[in-house]
Structure formats: structure tokens, C-alpha cells
Amino acid sequence: MNFLFTISIRNLFRQRRRSILLGSAIAIGTAVLVLANAFAHGISEVLFNEIVSYVSGHVSVSFTKGGNANNQVFHDGARIREIINKRVPNVKRVDEAIGVFARAIGNAKADNVILVGMDPSGDGVDEKEAEKLAKNFKELEGHFADLADTTVENPVCLAQEKAKTLNVKLHDVVRVRFTDIRGQTQAARLTIVCIMKPSNVFMAAPVYLHIKTVKRLLGYSSNDVPQLYLSIENPRKDAKRFADSLHAGLNPPLAVIDGQLSVHGSGVEVTLLSLRTDSASLALVDSAMKFSARTAADSVNPKKAVIISESLSKITGLQPDDTCTISYEGKFGDEPGGARLIVTAIAAAGSGIDGQVVLVNERDFYKTFYDVWPKSTVAVNGPFRPDTEIGIYKAFGGEWLLAPRSRTTRDVMKLYREIAQKGWKAIVVDVGSMYETASMVLNLEYALNMITAACVMVLFFIILIGVVNTLRMTIRERTREIGTIRAIGMQCVDVRNSFLIETGLLALISALSGTALAFVTMFGLSQLTFKTDANPLGMLLVDGHIFFAPTVLAVCFFIMLIVGIAVVTAYFPARHAAKLSAAEALRHFE
């Protein structure tokens, strides 16, 4: 085999000009391929590691209360964290995340800003994370750590560009106006403790406050959580799997409020259940329940329904249009929960709700439920627990509403439109991975990969045409030589292999040269600095530089692909050469 290599290499250098021309074409093609791939991978790295992880986390859990996308709150944060710990124990960090639009007024200048909460020294921020943070937010004046300074009024950090826009300096005060989670307009004074230069233009738009400050300003209580962003070790591999697992774990239990129903001075233990008021649930109520009495208003507007069982009616004497009050023990704090209800209907016995139960329309139920989160849960015994087999069970609401898993950003947007339009009363819990929340951004990576694929196709044709033409000429020129070596005793297969080795070597040397060229070009291009202040494409740059991320695996794959294409392309001309009759080849004259 060695002598085949020797002959092949020498033949390669013998036709120097031809080899250089074809080799250059393959090398340039390879360089473009490696470059395009490294660029696409670089962008994807920036998107995943720098942008997506900040904007939406690798996995996110979002809450929407009352159908209002700005009201992102869940009142039993510990419960959600417990589920996260149980379902995805390998999660690196769980961050609370808030982003609220606000109008900011600086020194005679105003601008729209996003108030973003962050905790630069929170749990799980290791040395590596801190380094990354320091790299992504270069402190120009002041210190990021001062966001946690409680002696300063609402410390804030903002980008140099934003400071310029608002005409403010370090220690100046910025006034902001925003809407809190109760829908009320609030105003606050923010003190600038740090002016920084973000590595990415995308991160220059918000102003950064400590998460605790933002939560306080927006009216979150200590048990409330805003959105939760989960950072995981290997997001590309695990993000979707973790999100699916977490989604399965967040299936809501039936919402129950066990409390004391008071009427005419006497009390009785009852369980309140939420009656969903979507059309399917209302149809279910109509078909599965019989009423012994109901108000005219209840028939007209079932969305205001408060239905009690016949047995409860007998115990308490409650009739339609009667008013009763409910009081119950809250899960957090000493303050009890309560509500005033007007009975609209009495369910006839045999409807599956025979017992001390009140079905309350979801608007009134959740208003009460979320106002003071009850201590009772469906898992513990109470005055009434419905049989899961009864016809109307599906019409009872859960402690929250779990949104189905979205597959794309478009699906996510559709979901939030639906939440806003339908005005779901239960808190909607949505679990997303970066693949869905950033699918539109990731389409960019897809487009770049398409460009890489197009490069492969172009390269394929360059190799195809180049190799076939070169080999045809070579075979024509070397026909007598082929005749000679066949006459001496070289087998067909060795003749064929010598041509394949020659082509493979040319492709390999060219591909390696092309890779080297690509790396030199990458180095050169990454030295250029682009000014991207007003260009949204600047988000794809790191510190104003193009970021390339070539991988050993991809480079090896491309080299093997190119050598493979060249050898496969050379196979047929080489076989043709090998099958030449020795006598005819020896008779050949150019």
C-alpha cells in the first residue's frame, strides 16, 4: 500500500498547476464552509449563552394572573420551588425574573425603559457566573454590587447609552412611572449606583435593579414569585426534557377552600369549589346537574353562579338570592380569608354534590382564593371532597391553570393572546424552554445553517466538476502509463485505488489548508470592531466583535465530508482508468 501512496503523492506534485488550481477551489470552499459554520455556531452561542439565558432562562416558568400579561405573579412561590426541586433536581440556579415597562425621566430628558430585576450575588452565582456577569456588564462608574445597598433609595444600574439618553450621571436620580401587579400606576425615584457598558447592545435597553427592589416597587409580597428562570448545565441537551418534566410536575390539584359558612348567626363547615365558566364547563353543568331552585339571574348569567347542595340548603336554610359569608384560614400569616356570596341556585340531590359544598363561579372563587391563599388543600380531608368519577368533575377548577406546552414563539404569543382575550381567572402557569421562547431568534441560526448547507452544495459541485475534469485529463494523459503498469502486473483494483488515493490526498491537503485559511480569516474578522449603537444586529456581536465558535467536531466532519465527496466523485473515472485494456492503453498516443 505504501508504494501506492508514494506514486499517488508524486503524481499529485507532478501535475502541480492543475493540483494547485483544483486544490485552491476546494480550499476556498472549505474555508467558506468552516467560516459559515463557526459564524452560525458563534451566533447560536451568543443567543443561547448571552441572550436567551438572560431573557428567558434555559427553562422558564411564567405566571399570568387575571388574564393580564403584566400581572406576572404566583402567590405560593415556595410550592413552585418545591416542585422544581423535585422534578428537576439538577438545575444549576433558579432566578426570579421581572421585566416591567416604565417611563423614565432623567435630567430634562425622558425615555421608555424596562425595569429588570436581578440578583448579582444571589444563590448559585458561582465564580464562573460572576466572571461572565463582569464580562457582560463592564462597570464604567460605580459598582454593580451596590444594587443591594439598602441605604440608597432604589439603587439602579444602567448602560452608558441609556445614561446619555436620559442625560444622567452616577448618583443622579431617575424618576419612573409604571403599573404595579394590582394594575395601579406607581411612581418611584431610582438612584444611579452604576453605569456600565454591556457586551451586547441587546442588554443596553433595560435598567437593572435588585430583584427585591423591583418586587417591592411592584407590590409583590414575600410569598409571591414573579417569573422563574432556570439555568441548567447543558441547556442544548436538557432544556426541552427539563421543561417537559417540570410541566408534568406542575399539573394543578383541585382548588378547595375549607371554611366556615355563616348565615343568620349560625355557622357550618363547608368546602368551596371553583366552577369553571368556559363554554364546555357550563355545558357540562347544564347536562349533569339538576336544580331544585335557581334565580332568574342564574339562568341568564351562569358566570355569576353560586350553587349550594340541597342538603346544605336544608341545614342552613339558604335559598336562592340569600346572602352568606365564608371565612377560612390562610396559609400565610394570621389574616383569615373571606367572602360574601349570594346563592343563585340549589343543586338537586343526586347531582354528585350531595354534601356541605358550595360551587362558586371562578371569578369570585379565584378572587377569594388568591387574595388569601387557603391553608386547606384537596390532599387533606375537609367537609366535602368530590368523587373524581362524577359527571361535572371536569368543570371544577384547579389551584392554577397549566397552559399546554408551546412548541414555538408563535405558539407562546398565541397562548398569551388567548389568555388576554378569554380573561382566564385562574393564574395561568406556562412552562417553556429556550427553544420555544426564543424560537424566532433561533430561526436565525437555522437560516445560517441553511447557508452552510448551500455552501456544502456549491462545494460539492466544485469538487464534482473539478475532480471529474481533472481525472479525465489525467487519465487521458496517463493512458500509456496505465497500460505499462497494468502490463507489468498491477491489478485493476490497485490502479483504481492509486487514483482514489491521489484525489483523496488532494482533497485532504486542500481541506486542511482551507481550514487554516478559515481560522486566519476568523482571527482577522474578530479583530474588527463594529459600532452597533443603533443597529439591532448588534445583539449578535460580543463587545462589538464578531464571535466565531468553531468546533473540533464540525471541522473534522467537514474535512471528512470533503474528502468523502472527492473520493466518491473520483471513483467512477478511477474505475474507468482501471478497466482500460493494457494493450489498448499501450497503443494510445496523444
Binding site: I7, I485, A487, G489
Partner: protein
């Protein structure tokens, strides 16, 4: 003992729409160790006869036995192996491999055989190069050698596998008369030393004096054996 036994050999070529009858029924036997010349004018069928004997071309009809084996019934792999192990070739235009030097050209058939060790191959090639008088040109490529020197390399290459037969198609045609004589003397010397059968074609009457036996061919038929 006959090393070649040919009976009723016919070889036709298709040349466009016409058929050329290159050999029209040749009967010939050649003894081992012979130094035979095939003589005839251009187009008489000398090269075709050598090609068929050398297993380069196949017969249209008839029987050809080389070293006791009927070669007309062999497949491509067997016939290539036959050429490698039993036959050596010397061409009119030398046909050396241009990218290999003298030593490598001579070693080449032995490398194809994949039988001997690298050291044995080198030893055998160097011995033959020495015998053809090219010791100091061992690292020269064909382009750096004269016509006579190239033909010497070709002779060494033909003999390196210790073949039963060496076929030479007009080996002196591209050489001046002095060099031609030297080559023929060398071939004769090799024939004597190695006892290898040499068959060479020529249309030069002066070359005949070197041959131990002569076959005259005309229009695809043997007209005289001496």
C-alpha cells in the same frame, strides 16, 4: 522443454466497421532459454503476437500455453498475476514510470508481488541495476537518463521478478546503433546468466545476428522459422 506452445492462434481487431485480421492462424513453439527474434515488416503482426504471448491481449481463436498454462481461459485477475509472475516486458519507448527513480522503477514489480521483504526487494533491485551498469544512476529519474540508460532500467525491471519469459517489442528501435548493440548484448548476457527466455521483435536485419532462432512473420502468418 517448450515454454510457449501456440496452436491456430487468430487475432482480429475491429477498426471502425472493418475487421483487421492481425494473426490468421499462428502455430509456434518456443523452447525455454531461447533467445528468439520475431522479424517482419510493419503491420505484419509482430507486436500483436508478442502481446498475446505476454497476456496483454487476448486471442480471438486458438490455443496459447505459456509456462504450461492455457492463458486464453484465464480471467483478468489471473492473467494480471500471470504477467507479474511469469513475464517481463521491454518496450520500444521504454515505458518507465516517470515519478519513480531508477531503483524504484526496478523495485516496482516486486512491490506489486507483495512476497519479499523490503530489504530483499532492495537487494534484488540493486543487484540487477548493477548488472545493467547503472549503479551511479540509481537515484535518477527517467527524465534524467539517456535512451540507452532508460532501456537498461527497463531490462532490469523486466528481469527483477525472475520471469520465465522476457518480451521485448523492438527494443532498439528508439536507440542509435551503438547503444542498440549494447542493449542487445546486455539482453544476451542476461539470457545467459539468468537462463530467461527472450523473445524480441524487430524489423532491423542487423539485429538478427544476435538471435539464436528467428521467426519471420508476414500478414499475420509465420512464413519461416530458423
Amino acid at each position: 522443454m517448450d515454454i510457449i506452445d501456440i496452436k491456430g492462434l487468430k487475432k482480429n481487431y475491429a477498426l471502425g466497421s472493418t475487421t483487421v485480421h492481425a494473426l490468421r492462424g499462428v502455430d509456434l513453439t518456443i523452447a525455454k532459454g531461447d533467445f528468439m527474434s520475431i522479424i517482419g515488416p510493419s503491420g505484419s503482426g509482430k507486436t500483436t503476437l508478442l502481446n498475446v504471448i505476454g497476456c496483454i491481449d487476448n486471442a480471438t481463436e486458438g490455443s496459447v500455453k505459456v509456462s504450461g498454462r492455457e492463458i486464453t481461459k484465464l480471467n483478468d485477475r489471473e492473467i494480471t498475476s500471470m504477467r507479474l509472475h511469469h513475464i517481463g516486458f521491454i518496450f520500444q519507448t521504454f515505458n518507465l514510470i516517470p515519478v519513480l527513480d531508477t531503483l524504484e522503477n526496478v523495485e516496482f514489480p516486486l512491490l506489486l508481488m507483495r512476497k519479499l521483504s523490503k530489504q530483499d526487494i532492495r537487494k534484488r533491485a540493486e543487484k540487477l541495476i548493477e548488472e545493467v551498469g547503472l549503479r551511479e544512476y540509481i537515484k535518477h529519474r527517467p527524465a534524467e537518463l539517456s535512451g540507452g540508460q532508460r532501456q537498461r532500467v527497463a531490462i532490469a525491471r523486466a528481469l527483477v521478478t525472475n520471469p520465465d519469459i522476457v518480451l521485448a517489442d523492438e527494443p532498439t528501435a528508439n536507440l542509435d546503433s551503438v547503444t542498440g548493440e549494447q542493449i542487445l548484448n546486455l539482453m544476451k548476457e542476461m539470457n545467459r546468466i539468468e537462463n530467461t527466455t527472450f523473445i524480441f521483435s524487430t524489423h532491423d536485419a542487423n539485429v538478427l545476428k544476435y538471435a539464436r532462432s528467428v521467426v519471420k512473420i508476414r500478414d499475420g502468418l509465420i512464413v519461416k522459422e530458423a
